[in-house]
Symmetry: C2
Subunit: 168 residues, 2 copies
């Protein structure tokens, strides 16, 4: 947690193991016993304390639930500490970024769509993993390439468009 607070305050390049140890109230050696350098340390902190989806229970209304998930994704990426760590992981082409951070959100969305498909709200022939990419990829692209502002309104507009594509 100390590492995430510090990367938010200092940025990655100025983050040091010494500062993390001081902030956490432990000796430097305690940190080095577990992590060889700041990269892996930060990654583990991020996986442990980074949010993966909303804790709210499904509302039962598909459009509401999808918009909540997408707005949560937008808010996460807007937080400086997540923005910094995620960019770093993308640049390092860390496959665990995809496995650990992207997959939980993808699976949550896919599960919600599958439930809707069982209820006949989503066409039976829709490839749900493609549907999830349709929802998440435009958010990630705006964030990563900074092509346009990443807002809650954009998340809502995406859900609206994609639902039209999926509905029976």
């Amino acid at each position: 947690m100390a590492a995430l607070e510090l990367v938010e305050a200092l940025g990655y390049s100025r983050l040091t193991i010494e500062a993390v140890a001081a902030r956490a109230g432990v000796g430097k050696q305690t940190i080095y016993r577990w992590w060889p350098s700041k990269g892996p340390l930060l990654f583990d902190a991020f996986v442990e304390f980074g949010p993966v989806g909303t804790d709210e229970l499904p509302s039962g209304v598909l459009a509401v639930d999808l918009a909540r998930e997408l707005r949560a994704a937008v808010e996460e990426l807007a937080e400086r500490r997540f923005d910094q760590v995620c960019r770093l992981l993308v640049h390092e082409e860390r496959t665990d970024l995809v496995t650990l951070l992207l997959m939980p959100r993808r699976m949550a969305l896919e599960e919600r769509l599958r439930a809707a498909q069982r209820l006949g709200e989503v066409r039976a022939d829709v490839d749900l993993s493609a549907a999830v990419e349709l929802l998440l990829a435009p958010v990630h692209q705006r964030w990563f390439l900074r092509t346009a502002p990443l807002t809650g309104e954009f998340a809502d507009a995406l859900v609206d468009l994609v639902l039209r594509a999926l509905r029976t």
Copy 2:
């Protein structure tokens, strides 16, 4: 052109200005007169010789034209020389990547959708730039994060889904 052929053969890290000069049949100094290093040289070569969309005339059928554009994008990213140069530019966070390479394809798609909107094939209230992101972002994400195979079939499936979202 020599630079693009060499980056395809050697990969970026083993590309040298000397090798480009030899391949182009000019002296090293001729290259250095215009480009300080291999990064900017490669970028200019890429912009000059890289494809930006299909040369084919619109078929008049919206689904056919969109699928052609998307399949062209998929094919480009699959070519080793473009894959290498694009990844490099993404990692350098070169904003000219977005301006010069992404924008022409985005604009071609947006123009095609605008024509369809005028003909009443696309709903009048659709935000066309969001529609373009819906088409391109899943392609870019599969390419960049290597989350799933990037195929022509995926391009077709995307067009099919997105058209359902846009149609009147």
